[in-house]
Symmetry: C2
Subunit: 166 residues, 2 copies
Amino acid sequence: MPRARTSKPAPSEENTAPSGTTAPGPSIDASFLHTLVGYNARRASMSIIEVFVERMATHDLKMVEFSVLSLVSHNPGITSRQLCAALDVMPPNLVGLIAALERRKLIERRPHPTDRRAVGVHLTPAGAELTAQAERTAAQLEMDATYRLTDAERKTLIQLLQKIYN
Amino acid sequence: MPRARTSKPAPSEENTAPSGTTAPGPSIDASFLHTLVGYNARRASMSIIEVFVERMATHDLKMVEFSVLSLVSHNPGITSRQLCAALDVMPPNLVGLIAALERRKLIERRPHPTDRRAVGVHLTPAGAELTAQAERTAAQLEMDATYRLTDAERKTLIQLLQKIYN
DNA sequence: TATTGTTATACTCTATAACTATA
DNA sequence: TATAGTTATAGAGTATAACAATA
């Protein structure tokens, strides 16, 4: 269910109009898809993510990288395994990500205090600074990407969404 | 911003507990992420998509394939280009998809009535039958995946989501 | 000159198997 | 015996460039 670009209903008979001149766009009937919560949730999240990716590029941060930094920031000493569980990333895929953030001196890996197999992840001062900035960027971009919603609507929306996945 | 699995806040001091025995799970503070509409929309859509993929496997249909069939069903003679626009798929990536559905005799490609460059896509009787079944599956699965919502809440949710991307 | 459909190809994301060192 | 972290690799999904046929 990839995101779509058009919306208006059209006659359900023979479609005789090719897209023609690109601009106005043909009116395709996607009304069934529009009745699906999943479809709408996906479209909405894609449209926010688009802005997210664009603005986070300012900090040279991908979405997952931002999530990692934010989690490490609020959970100093968190292990790779915990990050994997919280972000639903497979352990092998986190390795390169962590390594990249470490090369950029945004995080540090220190031996875990009680488990010698594990490694605790911590923010460096530079990492903490960048994370604080990035969280402000995220909060702002959210408001911009959902500017058609009132504060009350945004609150309601989040509650309803959490009812689905919690 | 990949979906996460944990939710409850935790002290923001040194994290001394590795995940340990897998079951109960460590309590990671993801409270900042939970304030983001984008994060919640993504988590919710992922949780619905999970059910979607699982149930559509019954019809041996991927999400995009279902979307294509549904669009062709409501827009007989739609062109590849129109499908690409409506589904936000790059033309080269639709080719294999269409070919696969054609091999399964679910769709037919006929010359476009007015544009000899284009090809109109149509459902075969078998394709129409499968699409009707799959749409019923989709509608049902939606209800199941969002069973914690009342009908009114579901309606509100869809309206709010559409306010974001429309 | 632009568009439709297509091939070939590259890049990113995600997933699996298997190893090591610790528990 | 199970878990944390890692390597190597396979597989999706998604992206770009370039082409022939037609507009």
